[in-house]
Symmetry: none
Subunit: 403 residues, 2 copies
């Protein structure tokens, strides 16, 4: 069963103040040269000061062996079942470029592509045009196409050939096929309604492509587009309603701000650096019951396979964390959304280290916050979906179940 | 949720080559004299060479506290939910005697039994007649009863009083009651259809018993039979379709060959010894993505309560394993289907030691493959149904879930 549903029954409106620090992708494998993971290699006096009195464990976002994307991995940590709460590609792409979606919005991740005179696709990525070119094309399209079939059209550039198309209007649906033929030498496909409720959405999407083709007729190689990952903004019950939490999100990157917004967290002004994130935490400390603070650069270092940079980013977080410890959170969790091992240069299926620091946490007396210690911790191996119940419990926010 | 269903969505058609070595019943309890389990007592240089770089854990086939039969225990390891995929007794019995069932086959496990002149059962096992007698009776029956009510009849002898009855034909069903009255001094029960769809099957079964009673009239004490565990061959989606694996099975004993066949593995010529099994592995190494290699004698030693023989069988496997290690599998898992502790002389509910050896496995740096080390490993305690996702992940055969 999904334990978070039970928590909704048991949750109390008051209790301790909670801080969830997500060090994106921090879980790793040992460096082949030194035999140490970045967490093992880093000097982390502040994390070390918390470790002995904390409970540790290893958590998996979706399941053993499953490598999660950032979307499902965060949903789990926020207490939303990641397999039941699927967030479409279009929505993630829109969140990723910082667009604040609403309930009437249908988002597509779109590619600029190349079409020959016969209407066949010759390059599904338009030769990966430079991002600056992309920005100019999107600006031109935005001037020329403001609405189709009574739907507002909103466009946002992405990186290289990628951009986001949002159709905003009544009666839209994401039960649509994609226009990407997944091959060259053939025409783009029409977007088809996969249910009766999606007929208007299909009509709008196809009308948009037609208009775009006219506007971009002379813009070879970016003279058409492919629409992928259609997705409406998912309707999730907000974290306040489910778990009784006024929740504030501190994240710099749009994707994570968007994910927090999806579950009804308020977005704080997080600035552009780790120090600014922690300054935001300090200045708004009395305003929320729950803070989510996202640390991006540990993941970026893992994606780049840069062990030394990952160590440096962990040390950077450790020193910034001092400010948070001084605020005296009743519950402090340090964990990751998923592992991003440097040797793999990508997200992985390895469970993530998890440390729960609270007066009522069983003190595991492990000296440091590392993957290896977490494997021995008293929290065991658990789905990240259990993180919210654990945090609520440690904050004294869950009533007894049954008598 | 059943994670293997999610895996089907994520599975990629290529990736590393995998070897699953199942040491049947290897998990054990400490010997009261030495305090060591057979795995702890055995000299296992090859397993020891793999251990430090591997991830370990303890897996339970069905759930904590549940003692599994070989059927459900193997289904779990193969990635098939053992509670949703129930394999009827008749099928297991047919597989156990080496009969290759097809989709039109209805199998019963049958007992020779003794009936008095009033038609009451006086011995439900016919005095446990010798197996040689059983074979002669089955041969006689096979000559005399080739079909009933348009169904082909196929018979196979088992051990002592046990034999297998297969009815092959159109329109059969296993929604049937058993004819065993579970008591003596009363007549055998007629087989009853438990649904309209099973009426033909019930008619055939009862007609078979009538014919058998005539053929065996002078064969006291084996002058009738009891039909138990009616089961059609289950329709399972093959492992190739579900997980994209060309899978080869190397097993000597019919039951395990049958279980592998149920999930669509191809049966390799495994010979009669452990050495021949590993020779088959070597000779077919390039032909499959996934190998299941079954080691029977560890279980037999446990069933007999023979600690020393179990140690010897583990050492035997260890030395044969050298050949497999030299083939360089990308993923090597060594585990058991269930524990068969010598002190209990039977399958037990104790979780099974599990070792995952792959370049991307987190190295637990545990020195040996033992129950005690597995309890401390980074894979934690997990349902064996997670074994397939873990193996697929370690082989690089699962795409990321979500973005």
């Amino acid at each position: 069963m999904d334990l978070t549903i039970l928590c909704e029954e048991l949750v109390e409106k008051k209790g301790g103040r909670m801080l969830l620090v997500v060090m994106d992708g921090v879980g790793d494998l040992p460096d082949p040269k030194t035999g140490k993971t970045p967490l093992e290699a880093a000097r982390t006096p502040n994390l070390d000061s918390l470790a002995p009195a904390s409970s540790m464990g290893l958590s998996y976002a979706v399941g053993r062996g499953i490598t999660p994307g950032s979307g499902p991995a965060h949903m789990s940590l926020f207490g939303y079942d990641p397999t039941a709460t699927r967030i479409g590609r279009g929505v993630l792409e829109a969140l990723g470029v910082g667009f604040e979606m609403g309930p009437k919005d249908l988002a597509f991740r779109a590619n600029f592509a190349t079409m020959d005179s016969k209407g066949n696709i010759t390059d599904r990525r338009a030769g990966r045009i430079p991002t600056e070119k992309n920005e100019k094309l999107v600006a031109k399209l935005a001037r020329e196409i403001r609405e189709v079939e009574g739907c507002e059209v909103i466009l946002r550039p992405g990186v290289e050939h990628r951009f986001v198309v949002i159709l905003r209007g009544e009666g839209l649906s994401d039960e649509l096929s994609e226009s990407d033929p997944q091959a060259t030498g053939v025409p783009a496909l029409p977007v088809k309604a996969l249910s009766g409720a999606a007929e208007r959405a299909a009509r709008c999407a196809n009308a948009f492509v037609e208009r775009l083709n006219r506007v971009l007729a002379d813009e070879h190689p970016a003279n058409t587009c492919l629409l992928r990952g259609p997705a409406m903004f998912p309707k999730l019950r907000p974290i306040r309603e489910r778990f009784g939490l006024r929740a504030g999100a501190i994240a710099i990157y749009p994707m994570y701000r968007g994910l927090a917004q999806l579950v009804g967290m308020e977005l704080l002004d997080a600035g552009h650096t780790l120090e600014e994130e922690f300054a935001a935490l300090r200045s708004r400390w009395r305003d929320y019951d729950f803070f989510y603070l996202h640390v991006k650069k540990t993941d970026s270092a893992g994606e780049d396979g840069s062990f030394d940079r990952k160590v440096a980013e962990i040390e950077h977080l450790d020193s910034a964390l001092r400010a948070a410890i001084e605020l005296g959170p009743d519950v402090l969790v340090v964990t990751c959304d998923h592992s991003t091992p440097c040797p793999m240069k990508s997200h992985s299926w390895h469970p993530g280290p998890f440390m729960l620091c609270a007066p009522a946490a069983f003190p595991d007396r492990l000296e440091r916050f590392t993957e290896r210690n977490c494997a021995r911790g008293s929290l065991g191996h658990f789905p990240a979906l259990d993180a919210m119940p654990l945090m609520l419990a440690a904050a004294g926010r869950l009533a007894k179940f049954g008598a």
